[in-house]
C-alpha cells in the first residue's frame, strides 16, 4: 500500500462517516500545511486559525474528493485559497499566484523557510521536539540511523534501502521501526497527551 493509497483509504473512511480518520489526516498534514501558510501569513496565531479553517473546509468538501490528485495536493489548494481569502478580508495583499502556486505541492515545499514566527509556547515545544529528536538520532546505532534517514529524509523505498544497506527487506523494516521506537520513547513524556486533548 503506497502512501497515496493510505491517504485514499483514510479519505474513504471519512466519506463513510468516520470522523476519526479525518483526525489522522489532520495529524499527518498539519505541520506541512502550517509551514506552507507561514509563507503567506506572518502571524503564527493567524496561521493556525487559517490552517484550522482550511481543514474544516476540506472536511466539508471531502464528499466531492474523488482521489484524482493526491490528498495533500488537494488540501494544499484549499489551504492557499483559504489564506488568500483571509488576507483579502484583512485588506492585505495576497501573494500573486505565481509566488505560491508555482511550486508543485507534491514535489517539494521548499524555498524560504519561516523563522521564529511560532507562538512562544509553540516555539518552546518546537525547540524541545527538535532537540529531542536530534539527541535520539545521535544515540541510535549506526545501522538504525542510516535506515531511518534513507527512509524519512531521502525518501527511499524499503527495496532501495535494502539494496543500499545490503540486507534483507525485513531487516530494513525492523531497523526503521526500532529507530522510530527509540525516538518515540524520548518524545512520549514530552507530549504526554492531556485527557482533554485526546480525540
Amino acid at each position: 500500500m503506497s502512501d497515496r493509497e493510505i491517504d485514499q483509504q483514510l479519505v474513504e473512511r471519512v466519506q463513510r462517516g468516520d470522523k476519526q480518520a479525518f483526525g489522522l489526516l489532520v495529524s499527518k498534514y498539519q505541520r506541512k500545511l502550517v509551514r506552507l501558510l507561514s509563507r503567506m501569513i506572518r502571524d503564527p496565531a493567524e496561521v493556525e486559525d487559517v490552517a484550522q479553517e482550511a481543514f474544516i473546509k476540506a472536511y466539508r468538501a471531502l464528499p466531492n474528493f474523488r482521489g484524482e490528485s493526491a490528498f495533500y495536493t488537494w488540501l494544499y489548494r484549499i489551504g492557499v485559497n483559504t489564506a488568500k481569502n483571509y488576507l483579502v478580508s484583512q485588506g492585505r495583499r495576497a501573494p500573486t499566484s505565481t509566488e505560491v502556486e508555482a511550486e508543485d505541492a507534491e514535489q517539494y515545499e521548499s524555498g524560504e523557510l519561516l523563522r521564529d514566527n511560532d507562538t512562544p509556547e509553540r516555539l518552546m515545544q518546537t525547540r524541545q521536539i527538535g532537540e529531542t529528536v536530534n539527541a535520539a538520532m545521535q544515540a541510535l546505532p549506526e545501522e538504525l540511523r542510516t535506515a531511518i534517514v534513507l527512509r524519512e529524509i531521502e525518501g527511499l523505498s524499503y527495496d532501495e534501502i535494502a539494496s543500499m544497506m545490503d540486507c534483507p527487506i525485513g531487516t530494513v523494516r525492523s531497523r526503521i521501526f526500532r529507530a522510530r521506537e527509540a525516538i518515540a520513547e524520548r518524545l512520549r513524556p514530552m507530549l504526554d497527551v492531556a485527557p482533554d486533548k485526546r480525540w
Binding site: 521548499s110 542510516t146 531521502e154
Partner: protein, 316 residues
C-alpha cells in the same frame, strides 16, 4: 649595520611565521566550516578549457551530512550523498552508481595537523578579495617539492566556507578551478531539496561500486615510493570490470592532494604505460608482472609515475 640586518632578518622571519600562522588559522576555520555549516550555492568548474556550472546544497544535521550536486548544463546529472553513501544519477547512461565515500566523518577533512601540512606546503595569507558578493581571504599553499600542485583558496571571511579553489602548477598554470557564483550559508532550504530529481525508469541500472575494506596485511603489495606526507586513507577491494578479478584500491592523501592506486590481474587486457590526464586528474599505468598498476590523482603525472613504480610485491 650588522645588527640592523639581524633585526630585519628576525622581523622577516617572525612576519613570515605570523603569516603562516594566519594562513593556517584560516585553513582551520575553513576545515571547521566544511564539517559544521550547511550552505547552498552555484559554482563553476573550469579545467582545460572546459567550463561547467552546478548547483550544490549541503545540510548538516543530527544525522550527519547530506549533500546534493546537480549539473546545470545538458541533461541534469545528480550526485547525492548522505554521510558515506553516495549515489550518482547519470541519465544518458540510464545508470545509478552507488558508492561509499570515505570523506565523511573523518576528523580533520583537510588535515589533522597544520604542522604536518606546513612541512609539505608553504602556506601564506596573500590577500583579500571579493567573490560571489562576499569578502574572502586568500590563502596560497605552495608545495615544497615537485610531487604535488599548489592551491589558492578563497575562504569566506564571515563563515570560513570555501568560495574558490584553484589548483596551480609550479609556474602558476591553472589545472582546475572551483568558483562559487552564489553562496548562501545556512540551511535555508528543506530536506526535500536534497532528494534526487531524476526519475529513473525500469530501464535504468543500478551499479554498486562500493568496495570492501581489507587490511594491509591481507594484500601482497607494498607502496615504497610515496612522496613525503602521503598517508594511506583507505584500502578496499572492488570490482572494476565485469570480466576481471577484483582490484585492490589504495587511496593516499597528503591532506590536500589525493592519489589512488589500483592493482589488478591483467587477465589478457592490454595495458598502456602512457601517462595522461583528464582535467586535473592524471593517470599513469604500468605492468608489474602479471598485474596492472594504475595510479591516479590530482597531482603531476611525474608523481603518479613515481607512486606506480614504487608498488612492489612483498617478499615472503
Amino acid at each position: 649595520m650588522k645588527r640592523l640586518c639581524w633585526v630585519i632578518a628576525g622581523w622577516l622571519l617572525i612576519s613570515a611565521l605570523a603569516q603562516a600562522e594566519d594562513a593556517f588559522s584560516w585553513l582551520q576555520k575553513m576545515n571547521q566550516a566544511s564539517r559544521s555549516l550547511s550552505f547552498s550555492g552555484i559554482f563553476v568548474y573550469q579545467s582545460q578549457g572546459r567550463t561547467e556550472s552546478s548547483r550544490i546544497a549541503r545540510l548538516i544535521d543530527g544525522a550527519g551530512e547530506h549533500e546534493r550536486l546537480e549539473t546545470l548544463e545538458g541533461t541534469p546529472r545528480e550526485v547525492i550523498r548522505f554521510n558515506e553513501d553516495v549515489r550518482c544519477y547519470l541519465p544518458a547512461e540510464k545508470l545509478i552508481v552507488l558508492d561509499r565515500a570515505i570523506l565523511a566523518r573523518q576528523p580533520g577533512r583537510l588535515v589533522s595537523k597544520a604542522a604536518a601540512l606546513g612541512e609539505i606546503y608553504d602556506a601564506k595569507l596573500t590577500g583579500s578579495g571579493r567573490i560571489a558578493g562576499r569578502d574572502a581571504r586568500i590563502v596560497n599553499l605552495t608545495p615544497r617539492d615537485e610531487w604535488r600542485y599548489g592551491h589558492e583558496l578563497w575562504i569566506d571571511a564571515a563563515t570560513g566556507l570555501l568560495l574558490k579553489a584553484r589548483l596551480l602548477t609550479g609556474d602558476a598554470g591553472l589545472v582546475e578551478q572551483f568558483s562559487f557564483m552564489e553562496m548562501a550559508p545556512g540551511a535555508d532550504f528543506d530536506h526535500e531539496q536534497l532528494r534526487a530529481r531524476s526519475s529513473p525508469t525500469d530501464a535504468w541500472r543500478v551499479i554498486n561500486a562500493a568496495g570492501e575494506s581489507v587490511s594491509p596485511e591481507e594484500i601482497p603489495w607494498v607502496f615504497r615510493k610515496l612522496p613525503a606526507g602521503f598517508k594511506q586513507v583507505s584500502l578496499v577491494r572492488r570490482k572494476l570490470h565485469a570480466d576481471g578479478a577484483a582490484a585492490i584500491h589504495a587511496a593516499f592523501s597528503d591532506g590536500l592532494a589525493n592519489v589512488s592506486v589500483f592493482i589488478e590481474p591483467t587477465s589478457g587486457r592490454s595495458s598502456q604505460n602512457m601517462p595522461h590526464s583528464t582535467g586535473a586528474v592524471g593517470i599513469y599505468r604500468r605492468l608489474a608482472g602479471s598485474y596492472q598498476v594504475t595510479a591516479m590523482g590530482e597531482v603531476p603525472v611525474a608523481a603518479l609515475k613515481r607512486v606506480a613504480e614504487g608498488v612492489e610485491q612483498r617478499r615472503k
